[in-house]
Amino acid sequence: MIRWISAVIGAGIVAVLGWSLLWTIVGVAGDSSAKTWTGAPASAEHYVHAQRPLLNAELPSEGLFGKYDLRQLQRGFQVYKEVCAACHSIRLVAFRDLKQLGYDDGQVKAIAQGWQIEQPSVNPDTGEVATRKNLPSDHFPLVFANDVAARAANNNAVPPDLSLMTKARHEGPDYVYSLVGHGYVNQPADLLAKFPDAKTPKGLHYNQYFANLNIAMPPPLTQDGQVQYLDGTKPTVDQMAKDVAAFLTWTAEPNLDTRHGAGFAVLGFLLVFCFLAYGAYQNVWRNMKH
């Protein structure tokens, strides 16, 4: 009995799926637009992203043996501070965390004290809303008090917080490097010929690595030497983009060095464990055919 019922139910479900399948195929076959089976080149952004895969930032933190280059992180922090910080916060990072970049207590304190935007506070005498200088224990302050203020100041766009940016995008470090270092180009003519609607609207900027190709952010790194590096590295746009990508990799994953180091210790321990466990297994079973 149960087999009859199941056969009827099974045949019914297959029939309903066949019905859906039929209409899917009819829908695709009857679609006169450029839409193909994978839907891929139907849009300008698919067309561009397929032609321009992300560039490799070649960060030393990549790969199994990846480790941060502290000098690069310091350079990246400098780029962030002098360029990005005008609009973008890193609210999940505290000033004290900068010690991991190799700054000493005094330097961290000086960076916090000298940070342009102050911490929200209250006046200890009157209780009124006020601000005070940053302390090493503070997180980096928000640039804008809220999204409305951010939109008002930025042509109706909200500059996202960058703390987790490299983890919030596919291949994040390469994405940041490609976007700010090599993303701003003139819109190619063949793209406009193929997709006339893709023309970048006024107030936005064409960026070949941005999801929908039109980004609100004006080009942040416009010329070599925009930042003066203290360690003598030549501040080309490419170098600054790499360094800031490295810095943002650190803000998103500050424990990467510890993690990789502990990882090798754990894998080594477990390899020895497996070796011994396999020996114990063979020893226990040595007289038992199985």
């Binding site: 149960i2 087999r3 199941s6 056969a7 139910i9 099974g10 045949a11 479900i13 297959v14 309903v16 799926l17 066949g18 019905w19 859906s20 399948l21 039929l22 209409w23 899917t24 195929i25 829908g27 695709v28 839409k35 089976w37 994978t38 839907g39 891929a40 199994l64 999940l92 703390s163 987790l164 983890k167 919030a168 995008r169 596919h170 994040g172 999801a211 500050p254 424990n255 510890t258 993690r259 990789h260 502990a262 990882g263 090798f264 754990v266 894998l267 477990l270 390899l271 464990f273 497996c274 466990a277 396999y278 114990a280 297994y281 020893n283 226990v284 079973w285 038992m288 055919k289 199985h290």
Partner: protein, 434 residues
Amino acid sequence: MSFPWAKHYEPKFALTKWVDERLPLPRLVYNAVGAGYPVPRNLNYFWNFGVLAGAALAAQIVTGIVLAMHYAANGGVAFDSVEHIMRDVNAGWFMRYAHANGASMFFIVVYIHIFRGLYYGSYKAPREMVWLLGVVIFLLMMATAFMGYVLPWGQMSFWGAQVITGFFSAIPIVGDTIRVWLLGGYAPDDAALNRFFSLHYLLPFVIAGVIVLHIWALHIPGSNNPTGVDVKGEQDTVPFHPYYTAKDGFGLGIFLLIFAFMIFFQPNYLGHPDNYIPANPLATPAHIVPEWYFWPFYAILRSFTSDFILPAKLWGVLAMFGSIVLLFFLPWLDSSPVRSTNYRPVYRTFFWVLVADVLVLGWCGGSPADPLYIVLAQICAAYYFAHFLVILPIVSRMERPRPLPNSITEAVLAKKGGTSPSETAVSGSPLAAE
């Protein structure tokens, strides 16, 4: 316990004797996973995965309890409290990555465990109850994993909760009321987040309880084995300890090696970048995808694209739940008395088609809803249901199984270069005669 030759627990010391007379807990453990449990001697490595699933659950509970000490289930602070764990809590990054990847490890191990049961007929008499309880555990795991994924309150958390609870609104008439009741509001918010946290903490202990029943039910007939042939005598079994504790120890080492590699070197590989963006009810992600272990079911859900008497959405939801519910009926859909697929030449082909089918469904479920993937998923979903509801019942009736070995020991000795089982076996199916 299951076999008369099982070893008996004999306390050696005055203290253990004293305990045994008052609370025979050591005796229970001895009989459950100690020397008192006779197990077929021919189990292969696929029999490691039950113990590994238990280990994965234990790891999830330990890391989860620590995470709960630092997590705050409130929409305003949940995302930041997770980042606080990642940055400021000692070894917090390890706990969180272990918990996030531990869920994936738990599912991969359980999927292998389930397909092992399917291949070797472990769901058949007299082990139906073991299988039924296993399906219950699987359902509980899915509920727990879904609610756990909501807790970090990232974009995929929020929109995943939106989509999954939206299933209930497919129910005619009362659907929307049920959805609002489940969420405690019109969209996922503090009320939903709080109850998901509460249930996410509760359900693992329910799972642990059902696992106790699962093992209890298993110990009545004893473990199945790769031949599917019943244990005939003492020569067919070995005590669980030390034989299988030693083998499981090695299996556990390999499991931990892979687990550790994921935690320390690829911690975000199985996650979605969008979940590092705080939940925003006003911005829908371009592609809402669940975690990889839900992909096959997500593909089934999305396969129903056209209304057919009932709305397509309702069909999708019914089929998605149906794809798991039908597993409850499996012991009665498969009437073949031969357990192990090794001796079922026709079903064996269909079994591997099913494995490939589920993998393709998973691939489709993780891909964008382009026509190619939809059509593939529709074909594969149709096969999934046809396999269990139509093909399996027919094959199990028509198929002529290969001769079974007379006993486990004979199969073992034949494999080690002795006589081949086909020379000494009774033709047809000796199981049916027993």
